[in-house]
Amino acid sequence: MMAKVYVTPKRGVLDPQGKAVANALHALGFAEVDDVRIGKYVEIRLGGSLDDASARVRDMCEKLLANQVIEDFRFEIGDGGAKPR
């Protein structure tokens, strides 16, 4: 199965990359852009039971994939095919 993990900067944490990209989008004429926040997307292919996967992936996020001082995370677990569960 496949876990798709999204790690994003917490509100209140400076995201200069996001600011720079927002400025670039404005320069390209996308005036409707209010804010851009840039994070990370991690795909994890894993075995084991689907029942355990959620707790295991949460543990992975808390221990390594996200630094909760500065980042939030969320994830989806699917069968690894085109359609996440």
């Binding site: 900067p9 209140g12 944490v13 400076l14 200069p16 720079a20 390594l64 630094n67 001082v69 500065i70």
Partner: protein
């Protein structure tokens, strides 16, 4: 005193730290490879600068799971002196040995320059050889040195005088221009509540020889050496009024 300097794949200031402590300050030194859990009986540990594990995922995120860091964690909880410089500061924050985190510089650019930092607390093992308010000139070189902590953590470390250094201008004032990376409240270095684990973005090991730009870094190493020679270990916890 015997100093251990950690060496991770991608560390690049380990040799300078060994040279500063060994050749300039006359200390016994030993490099400690990241895969070894044995700290070889050192009196203090330096976690040096560089790009441990290629800065993959986040700066310092991988290094903290190395065998040597488990030993450093136990050493610190036993009151041992640990100094993290630049990437070492990032590693100690990732390991939860220091409060807060270091994020991308506000400018998005790598900065490499001499900066001035003001000593905020001179009652610590690292800064006892300085005066409160004294300005030190020490180089920085980093892309992710912008200190961040949430409001509650910030209030806590301020109330316990855990902020060691702030970036300032020539007159000793914190200004946006004098803040090279956008660090929260111009914070350049902090310590833990117990006062035995220190982290700073500036590189004192690059400021120990007048031939290459000043000796202000020596003051910090000499403070630690003096502290270690007196053989006093920091108390297990900060006292009720927050002093360490």
């Amino acid at each position: 005193m015997k100093w251990g300097v950690l060496v991770f794949p991608g560390s690049n200031d380990d040799q300078d730290a060994l040279w500063a402590l060994g050749e300039i300050l006359g200390q016994d030194t030993v490099p400690l490879w990241h895969k070894e859990a044995d700290l070889k009986g050192v009196d203090a540990v330096v976690v040096p600068g560089g790009f441990s594990y290629g800065d993959y995922l986040r700066c310092g995120a991988m290094a903290r799971f190395s065998p040597v860091m488990a030993s450093v964690g136990r050493f610190a909880s036993d009151g041992g002196i640990v100094l993290g410089i630049c990437n070492g500061f990032q590693i100690l924050c990732e390991a939860g040995l220091l409060p807060g985190a270091l994020v991308r510089n506000r400018s998005l650019t790598f900065v490499c320059q001499r900066v001035r930092v003001r000593v905020e607390n001179d009652a610590t093992a690292l800064t006892q050889g300085c005066r409160k308010g004294e300005i030190l000139e020490i180089p920085i070189k980093h892309g992710e040195g912008c200190y961040f902590a949430d409001h509650e953590t910030l209030r806590e470390i301020e109330s316990r005088s855990q902020v060691l250094f702030r970036y300032v201008d020539a007159t000793g004032q914190t200004t946006p221009e004098a803040n090279p990376n956008g660090a929260l409240d111009s914070i350049a270095g902090v310590m833990n509540a117990r006062g035995n684990v220190f982290g700073m973005m500036p590189h004192p090991e690059h400021a120990v020889d007048p031939a290459v730009g000043g000796c202000d870094g020596q003051k910090l190493f000499r403070s630690l050496i003096d502290f270690l020679e007196r053989g006093v270990r920091p108390p297990r916890l900060a006292t009720a009024d927050g002093r360490v």
